[in-house]
Amino acid sequence: MTDNVAPREKNNTSHIRGGLSPKRLLILLFRLRPKIIFSLLTMACIFFFALTAQWVSPHDPIKVNVRYRLQPPMWKDPQGNLYLLGTDPLGRDIASRLIYGSRISLMVGLTSVLIGGLLGLALGLFSGYYGGRLDDIIMRVGDIQLAFPNILLYVAVLAVLGGSVLNIIIVLGFTGWIQYARVIRGQVMSLREAEFVLAARTLGASNLVIMTRHILWHTVSPLIVIASFAVANNILIESSLSFLGLGVPPAIPSWGMILAEGREYIRQAWWPVTFPGLAFVVTILSINLLGDALRDYLDPRLQRTPL
């Protein structure tokens, strides 16, 4: 927050602004330059590594070579191959494992948010638009779910279902809906009686058409803001679960797993635990910065959703 490029607007009564057009995005980019550019560049790098892992990673991420175990960063094997970030307790190249691990992080983060966001969007729309009994039931179910400390819920469910990438995505996806549903419901309730909705109704538009054509697009801004923070959050949760041994199975390199494996050897080597963490901080920070910037621009009043 060292830059003052984006002053928060005060007394902005219509605090939710319209959708994102390319022009608006461009304005956004220039107004919030330093933060946005840092985070976009970082994310471009991460996506690049994730998509091209099989070509850019210098070594095989799962090839065990016990002779080369726990070699420090910048180490070269007798053939002169460089191990940029050193090797892990089983002699695997940490840099390659991190590159492959970015796939898991991104996949879990994005797909779980997609599932949660779509589910929350649908439920929030119905709940806000129809109100009444349906609204009561949906919101009470959400309250109950929120009454459960998140991590505990994930831990308990994965303990029963078993850890796998798919199970994590399912658990995070299907528990994430409530934060979107709440905000969207509020938006829809305030829009339900708006003049343009009444006009559409007078012209004979069906409920479904009103919801999808007229109301839906007004809920996009808060949805994007919440979703951007949720991606960061879900990446963190996936890695926490993998770290606890409940997430991704050991055979697949994921950042949380690399950390957990390195932790046993913390007295002998600092690099297996340090680099995955740095990868996290940079990733999460850039997503959070983007989320902050989006929120400042789209909706100065929306508070960051609690963990």
Binding site: V155, V160, T274
Partner: protein, 309 residues
Amino acid sequence: MIAFFVRRLAQSVLVILGVSILSFGIMFLSGDPTMLMVGEDWSVKQVEEFRHIMGFDRPWYVQYWDFVTKAAQGDFGLSLRHKQPTFTLVMSRMPATLELTFAAMLLSIILAFPVGILSAVKRDSIYDGLSMGGALLGQSVPVFWLGIMLILVFSVKLQWTPVAGRGTWTHLILPAITLGAFFIARNARMVRSCMLDVLGMEYVTTARSKGLREFVVIYKHALRNALIPVVTLIGLQFGALLGGAVITETIFAWPGVGRLVIQAIQGKDLPLVQAAVTVLALSFVLINLLVDYLYCILDPRVRITGYKA
């Protein structure tokens, strides 16, 4: 006010009912809880006997009723591994978890307030930039990595603190910082933004224009009003802290409920997992209720307009 108290209590009862359904239902997610608990080398006969002992061969509604009525009396069944009542096991680990969560919460309050207030008062200064940059960083660091880094630096390299376990106050330092870091960062940002909101209010301008010293304006007029949303948020953090304790306790081998859950999962001790999760969720519901009551007492406006989530 009494109407609010009663309504909120009724809401909590509903939530507790929901918690009981969730805790009970989780066991059946895989279809058959028996198969999760038995060893791979068990014979069919042994499995069936075990199913009968655990009562899994009864209809689900009988099992649910059984679960709820027993849970209400503090009976969550026996741990498969420890052969003791799970509730006793969980409660014996509770003091350690509470000690850790309260230490982390205290830390987050003590540090967040001065940092946040100063940031708001010296808005857009270098101090503000640095502390809010630090706070953003603090929110982006994964709990488990922070814990490991602290161990690496302070326990392994400098050898100032013990690596793990519970005992003296030196054992508590690193786990409390680890668990509290995220909340220090978030509370500092929250305090800052609440203070900024309040500092723009007219009564603050009034206080200033009648010649009060800046210190009095900030602490007596602004801070008190800025406190209300912050207090609620801090209260609600307790659940996240309880959840975060699972990870922190595992890293530091802290003998709390969180570590018990992870150990129980590794030992396929599902009754123990169920009991621990239920107890933690119930204490979370209870704390939320208390926070809301406190909020209502602190802020008279809530009594009139009613509770808003």
